[in-house]
């Protein structure tokens, strides 16, 4: 900038004003500055220096638990991101995806990223990244939990929604089962009965499991007898394998409460015609296959998280869910 100023025969401040408050500078000086800048290949104020001086980066950080790329494999996460992106675009904020999932360095990354605030995609209770984000004194908004002092949580009441969905799918069932997301960071695939929700590390999974148990208990079903298939991801192939395993253990299964539409569909495909099924998220496949499902707008929740992270009031979306009843439970 000093060089440009010299070449243009003005002071550095004039150059600065040329870029930041052009009307503050005479047309003549402005032209001289821009000419000099072009000749010298100066593209405008350096972003880092500007942020340093300004005291803010005008960038929002998004932390996606697990490996970064999972985010893009999960259509729900993508919808959420779209909502966040929308708000960022509207406000002129950049959106920085913070790389995590590499282990011990995660903490450093979260601390060292040039962002003003964080939106954290739902993670485990013990996620060190979450603690790190909060420790940096930036505003932190977490989607769906875990709840912590100093962080805002936005997301639906998964337990209440699961209870409603469970009531719907388990009604009249004699051999109910559950298809669940992972219960801890190890992300193992297995089948077991009566998993205690309290032992689950992911708040979303925990709440949904608790809601399904609530529904079972309401109907007089013995939770400890309910087989639960845990899938590593919201993926078809694996879910079908887990469903087969469930059917091995309990061939009489006649109702499956799944935590995702894909899981629900996989269940349906493995035991067509004799199953009541609910899914989650009301995605395209749920509509295509007439699946009863818990509808929620991840996109709106993403937008709300971003809005809150940027310091404006936003709805917490606790009640932004709706049980969509379709053929799969009738």
């Amino acid at each position: 900038m000093t060089d440009v100023a010299r070449a243009a025969g003005v002071s550095p401040m004039t150059v600065s004003y040329t870029y930041n408050q052009p009307q503050r500078v005479s047309a003549e000086s402005r032209a001289k500055v821009l000419d000099a800048a072009r000749d010298l290949g100066y593209a405008g104020p350096d972003p880092s220096a500007r942020s340093l001086r300004y005291g803010a980066t005008r960038t929002l950080g998004v932390v996606l638990g697990e490996h970064l790329t999972y985010a893009f494999d999960d259509p729900q996460a993508v919808l959420f991101l779209a909502g966040v992106a929308e708000v960022c675009a509207d406000r002129g904020y950049g959106l920085l995806i913070v790389p995590t999932g590499t282990g011990e360095e995660d903490r450093d990354w979260v601390v060292a990223a040039a962002v003003d605030a964080y939106v954290v995609w739902t993670t485990t209770d013990d996620d060190p990244v979450l603690a790190a984000a909060r420790d940096t004194r930036r505003r932190v908004v977490v989607h769906s939990g875990p709840a912590r002092p100093g962080t805002t949580v936005i997301g639906i009441d998964n337990r209440a929604a699961a209870r409603a969905a469970g009531a719907e799918v388990f009604a009249g069932a004699r051999h109910p089962a559950v298809l669940s997301f992972p219960v801890d960071r190890r992300r193992e695939t297995f089948v077991r009965s009566g998993i205690d929700p309290a032992s689950v590390a992911y708040p979303v999974t925990r709440d949904r499991l608790a809601g399904y148990r609530d529904a079972a208990v309401d109907l007089g079903i013995d939770w400890s007898e309910v087989p639960i298939g845990v899938c590593r991801t919201n993926d078809d192939g694996e879910a079908r394998a887990v469903m087969r395993e469930l059917l091995d253990v309990a061939p009489g299964i006649d109702a499956v409460a799944a935590m995702g539409d894909r899981l629900a569909l996989a269940a349906l495909r493995e035991a067509p015609g004799r199953l009541r099924v609910v899914g989650w998220d009301d995605s395209e496949i749920a509509r295509d296959h007439d699946l009863t499902t818990v509808a929620q707008s991840l996109r709106e929740q993403g937008a709300a998280c971003a809005t809150a992270a940027l310091g404006d009031p936003a709805p917490d979306h606790r009640d932004s869910w709706r049980l969509v009843r379709r053929a799969s439970t009738s």
Copy 2:
């Protein structure tokens, strides 16, 4: 940092070393520094100042043409992003999604974003954002074009692939048609015959259209007679409407060369049983519906773009496509 140094009774440099080269500092000093930092709520070196001093941000920028959120609506763009994200995560780079699509400010954003290099998702020839990115002297890698001096282009040879796909779908057809992506930034939906590929602003669309024309010409088909339906997005509902319009104009259509699997499927649904169809991308729906399609890995291409943007050699992927023949053209 100065405050921490004072509180710990050491120099600022010792504090700096504590964070950046802990082993350079005695265990005793380190402990004093960390204690003081905790007491004062100091979370570590300021990222902006660090970038300023260091001269690089260790962040990769991604520019997605059109409105930012489109990126997340297009599954292909998401796959591409996943590839970019993967490389960033591996290298410890942040991934900054630059907001564009807001008009004149786009340029400013691209110039002012704190990134070391850019990956640009394919856009129009005249996109000012592309020029802006290059003007900032950062390394710029563009996916699929437009090609420009000073930028690297990575992507498949869309024309050659379209020619192969066109040859497959048009073979023996008497009334071929095309379902195309938008031809310019206005993104209008319409039907017209014999659109000149040279008039198309998006390189990807242009090349695919040119390839389809090549195939038509090879088979002795008069291109000016081939009706082309232009869809605004790779979306089902709209594509079906355009397909109906095509059938109005030319009821005898017996072959449709589409530019996306969704478009192909929409065509098939509007005229079931009597259509040869090809799609593009070999997505899940193509496999589900036995659609002939041009397979390519957007994910790998995203990774290659990121690698190249970070300064390492990467394959250009020109030949990373493959015509997958299925029932829809037999």
